[in-house]
C-alpha cells in the first residue's frame, strides 16, 4: 500500500481527570470516506478537533502527507472542518461565507468569484447566493457549510455530525449527496457520527470508538458481519445474545442446547453467542444451532416482519426478522410454537 494520507500514531488527550483519547492508532488513505463512530463521550469529536487543530494531543503524532502536524495551528493546516452547528457567519451572505476561506488565501478576486460560483452550482444554491444564513432552511445551511469547507480544496475534510440536525428524509438524501460530492472532488472525508446506519451507508471504512479507545476498524461489511467485541456487536445493528458456557469445544446454552460459532471461547469460559435477527430461519430439525420458542409478539415493518420469541435457551426474548416472502410462507401469530435454526458461520461468541 502507498503511504497513507493521514497517520494517527499513539495519540492521547486528557481533560483533567478524564482520558478522552487513550492511545489511538489509525491510517487513513487518500480518497477514503472514513467514519469515526461512537456514542457521546467516546472521544470521536475530540479526535476530530485534534485533526483540525483545535485541541493539542498530550501524546502521539498526527502525520499528514508525511509531516507531523499535531502542533500546527488550525489556520495553517490543509484541513477543513464542517462544524456540527454549521457555524456560518451570520452577518455574511452565502457567497461571502464561501468566499471567506479563499480570501484568507489571498487569491485574486476573479479566481475567488469563479470558484465560489462553481461550488454554488455543485450544491445547487446559486440562486440563494445573496441570502443571509438565517434566511435559509436547515438543509440549505448544511450545504453552505459543506461548500465553505470544500471550496478550499483541503487535503482532508472533517465533518462533525454533518447530518445530525436534519430530518430523517433529508438525511437519507444528503447521505447519498455527500458520497457523490466526495467522489466528484476526490477529497478524503472523515465523518464523525453516533448514527451507525449513517456510518455504514456512507463510509468506505468505519472505526468504532469507545471510552477514547479504538475498538475495531474495518469496512462496513466487516464491522457488521464480523464484530470483534461484544460492544461492537451490540452497537452496530441489532443482535441476539444468548448466554453460553464452553464445554468440550462446544457452546452450551442454559437449556442444554448446543451452539456452534465461527470462533469459540476458552475452555470452560462463560460468554454469549451472538447472531443477527435476519440470520434466523424457521424450521429445521432439533440439533446444533437450533432452538424452540414461543411467539410472544409480531411487528409488521413492511420490508420485514419482526418476531419476538420466548425460548428456554435465552433469558432475553430472541428477535427474528423474516423477509416478506418467508413471513407469508409460514404465517405466525402470538402463542405459536416454532423451531428456528441458523448456521455456525453466522454466529459469533464473546466472553462476558
Amino acid at each position: 500500500m502507498t503511504q497513507p494520507l493521514l497517520t494517527i500514531r499513539g495519540v492521547e488527550k486528557r481533560f483533567g481527570a478524564v482520558q478522552a483519547i487513550d492511545g489511538i492508532d489509525l491510517d487513513i488513505q487518500e480518497n477514503e470516506f472514513f467514519a469515526l463512530l461512537g456514542a457521546s463521550g467516546s472521544g470521536k469529536t475530540t479526535l476530530l478537533r485534534m485533526l483540525a487543530g483545535f485541541e493539542l494531543p498530550d501524546g502521539g503524532q498526527i502525520i499528514l502527507d508525511g509531516k507531523d502536524v499535531s502542533r500546527v495551528p488550525p489556520n495553517h493546516r490543509p484541513v477543513n472542518l464542517m462544524f456540527q452547528s454549521y457555524a456560518l457567519f451570520p452577518h455574511m451572505s452565502v457567497a461571502q461565507n464561501i468566499a471567506y476561506g479563499l480570501e484568507m488565501e489571498k487569491l485574486p478576486k476573479a479566481q475567488i468569484k469563479s470558484r465560489v460560483d462553481e461550488i454554488l452550482e455543485v450544491i445547487q444554491l446559486a440562486h440563494l447566493a445573496a441570502r443571509k444564513p438565517d434566511q435559509l432552511s436547515g438543509g440549505q445551511r448544511q450545504r453552505v457549510a459543506l461548500a465553505r469547507a470544500l471550496v478550499k480544496r483541503p487535503r482532508l475534510l472533517l465533518l462533525d455530525e454533518p447530518l445530525g440536525a436534519l430530518d430523517k428524509k433529508l438525511r437519507g438524501e444528503m447521505q447519498l449527496e455527500l458520497k457523490r460530492i466526495q467522489h466528484e472532488f476526490g477529497i478524503t472525508f472523515i465523518i464523525v457520527t453516533h448514527d451507525q446506519e449513517e456510518a455504514l451507508v456512507m463510509a468506505d471504512r468505519v472505526a468504532i470508538l469507545q471510552d477514547g479507545k479504538l475498538l475495531q476498524c474495518g469496512t462496513p461489511h466487516e464491522i457488521y458481519e464480523q464484530p470483534q467485541s461484544r460492544f461492537a456487536a451490540d452497537f452496530i445493528g441489532v443482535m441476539n445474545f444468548i448466554p453460553v458456557r464452553e464445554e468440550g469445544g462446544k457452546l452450551r446454552a442454559a437449556d442444554g442446547s448446543i451452539i456452534a460459532a465461527a470462533a469459540s471461547l476458552e475452555p470452560g469460559q462463560a460468554g454469549v453467542a451472538a447472531v443477527r435477527p435476519e440470520r434466523l430461519r424457521i424450521g429445521g430439525a432439533a440439533g446444533e444451532n437450533s432452538l424452540i420458542g414461543t411467539v410472544t409478539a409480531t411487528a409488521y415493518h413492511g420490508l420485514d416482519l419482526q418476531v419476538h420469541l420466548k425460548s428456554p435457551a435465552s433469558p432475553d426474548p430472541v428477535l427474528m426478522r423474516l423477509t416478506a416472502d418467508a413471513a407469508e410462507a409460514r404465517p405466525l401469530k402470538a402463542g405459536d410454537s416454532v423451531t428456528i435454526h441458523w448456521t455456525a458461520r453466522d454466529t459469533r461468541a464473546f466472553p462476558v
Binding site: A52, G53, F54, P73, P74, N75, V79, N80, L81, F83, Q84, S85, A87, L88, F89, P90, H91, Y100, G101, M104, E105, K132, D134, Q135, R148, A149, K152
Partner: protein, 283 residues
C-alpha cells in the same frame, strides 16, 4: 378576552408614562413657543424667538461642545466596555455571573457620591497626586480636576456598566464555533476578531454607544461637579435657564432640541437592532 389581557396589564404603565412623561414633554414643547415675561414669568403670546436663539453661535456652540464630549465619552466607554465584556464572555461559564455582578456593582451606589469620589481622586491634593508624590514625583502635576478630561472621565466611569451589559449580551450569545470556523478557514486570531466577531456584535456596540451618548449629552451633574463651572454643557445651560436666569421659554426651546437629538438617536439605534434581529426571526 385573552386578547385584551396585554392591554389591561399595560394600563398602569401607560397611565404613568402619560401623566409624568408625555404631558410634561408637551408642556415643554408648548412653553418653547411663548414669550418670556419682563420679570421672568411667561407671556402667553406665540413667538419663534426662543427657537431662533438656539441657533445663535453661542448656544449652538454649546450644543456642539456637549455632543463632542458625549461622543468622546461614548467612544472611550465602548472601547473599554467591549474589551471587558469580551473578557467576561470568554471566562468560564460559572464565573461570568460573578464578573458581571462586579462590573455593575458601582451602579448600586449613589451617583453623586461616585462623582464626589472622583473629586477626591483628581484633586490637587487628591489621591492621584498623593500617589505621584509618594512615588517621588517632585514637579508640578497637570491640572486634573475641573477640566474637560475630568468630565469625560466621570461620564465614562458612570456609564461603563451600561456598555458592558450591552456588549456582553451579543458576545455571550455568539456561537464559539463561529470563531473556530474562521480560524479553520485560514484566518488569524486578529482577522477573526475584525471580520467575524466584531461585525456580529455591532448591535451591542451601537446600543452601548447610543446609551452613553444620550445620557452624557444631557447630563448636568458631572459637568457641574467635575467641570467646576469652567465650561457649560447643554444640561447646565438648560438648568440655568430654568433655575437661575428664570427664562423658562428659552430653557424649554433648548430642551426640545435636546430631546429631538436623543429621540433621533434612539430611533436609529432601535431600527438598527430591529434590522439585525428581524432577519433572524424570519426563520
Amino acid at each position: 378576552m385573552t386578547d385584551r389581557k396585554p392591554l389591561y396589564l399595560m394600563t398602569p404603565a401607560l397611565a404613568w408614562l402619560t401623566a409624568f412623561m408625555v404631558v410634561p414633554c408637551l408642556l415643554i414643547l408648548a412653553l418653547g413657543f411663548f414669550r418670556r415675561g419682563i420679570y421672568g414669568g411667561i407671556e402667553y403670546t406665540f413667538t419663534l424667538e426662543n427657537i431662533a436663539l438656539v441657533f445663535d453661535p453661542l448656544y449652538a456652540g454649546i450644543f456642539l461642545k456637549s455632543a463632542m464630549i458625549a461622543g468622546l465619552s461614548a467612544l472611550i466607554a465602548v472601547v473599554i466596555g467591549y474589551a471587558a465584556a469580551y473578557a467576561i464572555a470568554a471566562a468560564p461559564q460559572r464565573r461570568q455571573a460573578t464578573l458581571l455582578f462586579f462590573a455593575v456593582l458601582p451602579f448600586w451606589s449613589n451617583y453623586l457620591v461616585r462623582t464626589y469620589a472622583w473629586i477626591v481622586m483628581l484633586n490637587r491634593e487628591g489621591l492621584i497626586a498623593g500617589i505621584a508624590h509618594g512615588l517621588g514625583w517632585g514637579g508640578e502635576l497637570p491640572k486634573m480636576l475641573y477640566t474637560e478630561s475630568a468630565v469625560v472621565i466621570g461620564l465614562v466611569y458612570n456609564y461603563l456598566p451600561f456598555v458592558i451589559l450591552a456588549c456582553y449580551a451579543p458576545l455571550s450569545r455568539l456561537n464559539p464555533e463561529i470563531a473556530e470556523a474562521s480560524r479553520d478557514l485560514g484566518a488569524s486570531g486578529w482577522t477573526t476578531f475584525r471580520r467575524v466577531i466584531l461585525p456580529a456584535t455591532v448591535p451591542g456596540i451601537a446600543t452601548g454607544f447610543v446609551f452613553v451618548f444620550v445620557l452624557s449629552i444631557g447630563n448636568f451633574v458631572t459637568p457641574a461637579l467635575l467641570g467646576g463651572g469652567q465650561f457649560q454643557m447643554i444640561g447646565n445651560l438648560i438648568y440655568a435657564q430654568f433655575l437661575t436666569a428664570n427664562d423658562w421659554p428659552f430653557g424649554a426651546a433648548l430642551s426640545i432640541f435636546l430631546i429631538a437629538i436623543m429621540m433621533g438617536l434612539l430611533t436609529l439605534q432601535t431600527f438598527a437592532t430591529e434590522r439585525a434581529s428581524g432577519a433572524r426571526r424570519e426563520e
